[in-house]
């Protein structure tokens, strides 16, 4: 079956006066129908850039320099203007970190929902309103029939994010891109939102790209995970495998530096240094200055690709199962 989203060798460039920056480099992954792909990595890893490239929301001068993006088998990376807008509303829904940026503060949320539905679905005004109320009920807004005429500022942060999810899903898209949807929310609200996202997508078979820096959220929500570092894929695989038996030293380091109940007060594992800036990317493997397993060949160009470690980790010297066990 064709995957819902398929990204091939995606590269994003930002030309600047000091040279060209490459926030996303040669990234490839698929998301199947009904699958949740978690995209993790520290800030600046290029997670949002990759997501924005898919929905054509790159801010100039950033642009797709090479690679292909297919949605349900149709190539979409070269779409412009109205075609892209139609695709965004109808086939791809978006949920961002700050729900306020996705909602028009001057419009009642019901109007925003019906407007989106009328633009993309062949239904009448009164049907649209009924469906708007149903959508709000589905995302768990109490008293949806009354709240449909409220303005965004009359909702709490968690409720607003629910409205945004209702809005993203109302045109029944085949793909949802959720960029840090719970980062600004409290744990208890985060749990509600993640559960909601999981349920709706499972029920409808929507594919989800769940971008987050929180390994815990990935573990609980994602089916597969893509770990990004300095614009590249470091590791890609089923979430349980990647998190319990990481092959890439960076993934291993990330897991080690996350405080864990079972490790108690033992010193946290430290990855020395910080992620390099895009204008000073090291040769070869971008992780080599921080990597405990680095060897001479790690600095050679071209750097490692996923093919170097069983199609799962972009590393010349991946961790062996014995090392981790």
């Amino acid at each position: 079956m064709t995957p819902t989203l398929s990204i091939h060798n995606l590269t994003v460039d930002i030309p600047t006066r000091h040279g060209t920056l490459r926030p996303v480099q040669d990234v490839s992954y698929d998301i199947a129908q009904g699958e949740i792909l978690g995209v993790v990595g520290e800030s600046g890893a290029g997670k949002s850039m990759a997501g924005n490239a898919v929905i054509g929301l790159l801010n100039p001068p950033a642009h797709i320099a090479s690679g292909e993006i297919h949605l349900n088998g149709t190539r979409i990376d070269h779409l412009q203007g109205d075609d892209m807008r139609r695709l965004r509303g109808k086939h791809i829904g978006m949920v961002f970190q700050d729900p306020l940026t996705s909602l028009n503060p001057l419009l009642k949320i019901g109007d925003q929902l019906t407007e989106t539905m009328l633009a993309h679905l062949d239904i009448s005004q009164s049907d649209a309103r009924k469906r708007a109320i149903a959508a709000l009920e589905e995302v768990g807004i109490p008293g949806a029939a009354q709240r449909v005429d409220s303005y965004p500022h009359q909702f709490s942060g968690g409720m607003r994010q629910r409205v945004v999810i209702a809005l993203a899903l109302c045109a029944e898209p085949s793909l949802i891109i959720a960029d840090e949807p719970t980062t600004a929310l409290d744990v208890s609200v985060q749990a509600q939102i993640i559960a909601l996202l999981k349920r709706l997508c499972r029920d409808r078979g929507t594919a989800v790209m769940l971008i987050t820096h929180d390994m815990g959220v990935i573990a609980e929500a994602a089916d597969r995970v893509a770990v990004m570092y300095a614009g590249q894929l470091a590791e890609l695989g089923p979430v349980r495998d990647v998190l319990t038996v990481p092959l890439h030293p960076y993934t291993d380091g990330l897991m080690g530096s996350t405080p864990l109940a079972s490790r108690g007060k033992a010193r946290l594992h430290q990855i020395p240094g910080a992620m390099p800036r895009l204008d000073t990317l090291p040769d070869g493997c971008a992780f080599h200055p921080r990597c405990p397993r680095a060897q001479a060949d790690c600095t050679r160009n071209p750097g490692p690709t996923l093919a170097d470690a069983q199609g799962r980790a972009a590393c010349f010297h991946p961790l062996l199962r014995e090392d981790v066990a």
Binding site: E42, S43, G44, T183, A184, H213, G273, P276, R277
Partner: protein, 317 residues
């Protein structure tokens, strides 16, 4: 909240000059023709005003060098009686217009700059106080500012000028005039400094570096001066530049109306006032050249200010 970009660079320490020259600010400046041209013109005019005594071919205020016979010489035409030729002509008393413009610009720029400096000091002080102390202090300062804003600044200046004129003895009036001008224009201009500084102070005082300073035991004045002030100055710089253009115009207006710089110390505005008397008798140059100079000066300073505002405020672009 959590999504802050890391900017960790390998330690490199280029010289401060190199850094400054590479900065985005200079880069943007070089890329903006308007900025470069208006900066060049402003610089040229300011320098020629400062060095007027060296540049000016004549000293228009030295009665000994004046020759009444040279009166009303047209630009670039030899005088009918003396045969002397003047670039921009002469006025009724035979003063070289080019030289009077240079000296007039000196007065105009001095009054403008001093007035803006005065407005700045007053506005920054009151704005900092209002923003940082809050409460009644803030209410009183900002209400005064509101009232001030409802009067056109030229009116305020005229009022102050009138009062000052009433209380100074006649023999000091000419000497006082310049200082009264400065205070009058400055007083009508402090409000925008105060408003901007208050707004910026309200933002800065809630930042955690201010809390850190309080914790250490720093007192209010120390925090305002050492911590907050340096961080509210960039909008002030923009306003100061644009204010300078406005202050030069305000000075010209007041002088034109006869309540500004006296004929013994003529500013561009005074020159324009004198010049307009001769417009209809055919001696157009006495009015035109000072007026053009004023326009060029005000316009280039203003354009520079506009550009500064855009350059220092990337969010507006």
């Amino acid at each position: 909240m959590v999504d802050t970009p890391l900017s960790d660079s390998a330690a490199k320490d280029p010289s401060r000059l190199r850094l400054a020259l590479q900065s985005d600010f200079i880069y943007q400046f070089k890329r903006s023709p308007v900025a470069v041209v208006s900066f060049a013109i402003t610089l040229l005019l300011v320098l020629s005003a400062i060095f007027a005594p060296l540049i000016a071919p004549y000293d228009p205020f030295d009665p000994g060098s004046l020759n009444l016979m040279n009166g009303f010489s047209a630009p670039m035409t030899p005088n009918a009686f003396t045969g002397d030729s003047f670039w921009l002509g002469t006025d009724d008393q035979g003063r070289d217009v080019f030289s009077t413009i240079l000296y007039g610009m000196r007065i105009s720029l001095f009054v403008g700059a001093a007035a803006v400096a005065f407005a700045m000091v007053l506005g920054i002080t009151l704005g900092l106080l209002a923003g940082y102390v809050g409460g009644w202090t803030e209410t009183i300062i900002m209400r005064i500012a509101d009232v001030q804003l409802t009067f056109p600044s030229i009116l305020v200046a005229m009022l102050i000028f009138g009062v000052a004129k009433g209380v100074t003895p006649v023999e000091y009036r000419d000497q006082m005039a310049i200082w009264v001008l400065i205070i009058a224009i400055g007083l009508s201009d402090w409000v925008q400094f105060a408003r901007v500084v208050r707004g910026a102070t309200l933002v800065e005082k809630n930042k955690e570096y201010v809390a850190a300073a309080k914790l250490i035991g720093r007192t209010g004045p120390a925090i305002m001066l050492r911590h907050i002030l340096p961080n509210v100055l960039s909008p002030v710089l923009v306003i100061a530049t644009i204010s300078l253009a406005l202050a030069i115009i305000a000075e010209a207006t007041l002088s034109f109306l006869g309540v500004g710089a006296p004929p013994t110390q003529p500013s561009l505005g005074t020159l324009i006032r004198i010049g307009q008397g001769f417009l209809f008798s055919g001696e157009w140059w006495i009015l035109l050249f000072p007026a053009l100079t004023l326009l060029t000066l005000a316009l280039s300073v203003n354009l520079l200010g506009d550009w500064l505002r855009d350059a220092l405020n990337p969010r507006l672009r």
